[in-house]
């Protein structure tokens, strides 16, 4: 079985995150970049499957600037067999449509039985790409899974929705997305880090995928304006002298909040 795990490098949520005030595109220099944690859980599921089924091949795939190499290599160090990195100046600031088109083309080129994504990134958080890729490639999508069972022909999972819990299934090939309910990722071992340096790491561009994205008749998302909000200011802070509960009640009542 061949599993492709979609990876995204995101600004570390432990630090301050910035947007370029001119373009509205993430300012990658303003914060530390890390592999999104949900992608690590997705990869963990693939690797655990590979541990039990040695004929499993796990490929990590990203679409990101050249600088994302270190994050993708972490996936190799954890145990993925190879990495594919789509980097092209033309896709800086790509919208969902371009992203889905480019990833779908790369997925097709690689060949696969299962594509695994995180349910939502910590930066964009749209949660929309698994379904877009599924539609583009005419595949079933099983999103937001909290439990997964996978065999050679079928993927089945428990899906948490806004209204309840459903069991869903589909014949492979399929696209799935996973939630934080899945197991935490393994740490790369020292051996894994050394081995990662010898694993295949392929950089590809849009021309390798036979994609051009400059057709102006195709609708694209455009940014109209971006505004940074002033940071929130701290207000009153008191040490409890035995009357703090009373003070909060007075604060709430005087502000018509209780």
């Amino acid at each position: 079985m061949k599993i492709i795990v979609l990876m995204k490098e995101v600004p570390d949520t432990y630090g301050e995150r910035k947007l370029d005030p001119e373009t509205g595109i993430a300012d990658r220099a303003a914060s530390d970049a890390v592999l999104d944690e949900i992608n690590e859980r997705a990869l963990e599921f693939a690797l655990a499957h590979a541990d039990r089924n040695p004929d499993t091949e796990v490929v990590v795939l990203t679409m990101a600037p050249d600088s994302a190499t270190a994050s993708l290599r972490k996936g190799l160090a954890m145990g993925a067999h190879s990495a594919v990195h789509i980097a092209d100046p033309a896709i800086v600031g790509a919208d969902y449509g371009v992203t889905a088109e480019v990833l779908s083309a790369a997925i097709t080129r690689l060949g696969f039985d299962l594509v695994i994504a995180g349910n939502q990134s910590t930066d964009g958080a749209s949660g929309i790409l698994p379904a877009m890729i599924a539609e583009t490639l005419d595949l079933p999508q099983l999103t937001n899974l909290t439990e997964i069972s996978l065999d050679d022909s079928i993927v089945r999972g428990t899906r948490a929705t806004d209204e309840g819990v459903m069991t869903v299934s589909a014949a492979l090939p399929a696209v799935i997305s996973v939630t934080e309910a899945l197991a935490e990722a393994r740490f790369p071992s020292f051996k894994g880090i050394l081995a990662a340096k010898k694993k295949p790491y392929e950089m590809i561009s849009l021309s390798d995928l036979n994609i051009t994205i400059d057709d102006l008749s195709v609708p694209r998302s455009i940014l109209i304006a971006v505004a940074e909000k002033p940071p929130r200011q701290a207000g009153v802070k008191v040490d409890d002298q035995g009357d703090a509960g009373q003070l909060i009640a007075e604060f709430l009542i005087s502000n018509l909040l209780a």
Binding site: T13, G97, S126, E135, T167, V168, L257
Partner: protein, 329 residues
């Protein structure tokens, strides 16, 4: 066949398992009304369609397109996507509004991919200028406001649940029935569905005016009852930090933050929550923030309008007592 207005906004209203409209419907129809002519789409089993359509009209839809399709309970997303594309072709809408729910995202992604249209995710509002529909976003935990649009054509928009609290005027029920036309696109099978246990009388976290949240500082599942008591005293929804969820004090659906629910209530009370950036990203747009934490250096105090350095187990009971005393006056 009805002629549709040139400023039609197509709204997918979600019919829940028991035939009701999801609570997101009101905000979506209010948003659509503010920028054009709101046309609702109901995709449901034949038994549920008419009731759901009547509810959509009551929430402001000037026309309700009904597609009866028994597959909605057994086939994931694709029957709804097929119906949306059918409705889309009838009116060529300026925008398609869909709730940013787990189901809504999948439908929106598929529709945008199938129609090769622009997609704007997690909108907190829509407006209109001479060029067309504008979409308002609040990103990076409310640190930035962004305005987006499409270069050409219709735009598919997922709207953050709870972000739009307005209601549109009720409209007379006008139903337009369409025969479903399956695309036969590959889809997952829904094998079974278990509805979430009936919600308590507390308000839903998304869109609640007041939220009381508890963190690791509560210390145990039993102690988390303190959060519930204060919430009930204030008529508030219950939230939690990721640490409290991971510790098993409360179910995951209560998680507020980067990887949980984003809330913008009038009042947010943080009990025993340190205020890690991931948590702040989900609540810092609250109008007023009150925090109680025994650690004077907790980052939550940097954004709190009223902070108390103290023990939640002494401060909160006193607060509840004072609030109850006020109610009796």
């Amino acid at each position: 066949m009805t002629d549709f207005a040139s400023d039609s906004i197509l709204v997918l209203v979600t019919v829940t398992n028991d035939g009701q409209l999801a609570t997101s419907a009101a905000g979506l129809l209010a948003a659509a009304t503010s920028v054009g002519t709101p046309i609702a789409l109901v995709v449901a089993t034949p038994e549920q369609a008419v009731g759901a359509a009547a509810e959509a009209a009551r929430l402001g839809a000037t026309t309700v397109i009904v597609v009866e399709d028994a597959r909605v309970s057994s086939v994931l997303s694709v029957p709804i996507v097929d119906a949306l594309c059918l409705a889309w072709d009838l009116m060529n809408p300026d925008a398609v509004l869909i709730a940013n729910s787990i189901e809504g995202r999948d439908v929106a992604g598929r529709v945008a991919a199938r129609r090769r249209s622009s997609l704007a995710a997690d909108a907190v509002g829509v407006s209109r200028d001479d060029e067309g529909v504008l979409v308002h976003h609040s990103v990076y935990g409310g640190s930035y406001d962004i305005l987006s649009a499409t270069s050409t054509g219709s735009i598919v928009v997922t709207v953050r649940m709870g972000a739009i609290t307005a209601h549109a005027e009720p409209q007379p029920l006008v139903i337009e029935r369409l025969r479903h036309a399956p695309s036969n696109k590959s889809a997952a099978t829904i094998e079974s569905f278990t509805p979430a246990p009936a919600q308590s009388s507390r308000p839903e976290l998304r869109g609640a005016a007041t939220v009381v949240s508890g963190g690791r500082g509560l210390g145990s599942l039993a102690n988390f009852a303190l959060v519930e008591q204060l919430a009930d005293s204030l008529g508030a929804a219950i939230g939690a930090s990721r640490a409290a969820v991971d510790a098993g004090y409360v179910q995951q659906s209560c998680q507020v933050g980067q990887t949980g629910v984003s809330v913008s209530p009038q009042l947010y009370i943080a009990l025993g929550i340190s205020g890690a950036i991931q948590h702040r990203a989900g609540m810092q747009t609250a109008k007023t923030i009150v925090a109680i934490n025994k650690d004077a250096d907790a980052p939550i105090f940097d954004i709190a309008d009223f902070g108390v350095v103290g023990d939640v187990f002494t401060v909160v009971p006193q607060l509840i007592e004072a609030l109850e005393a006020k109610k009796k006056q």
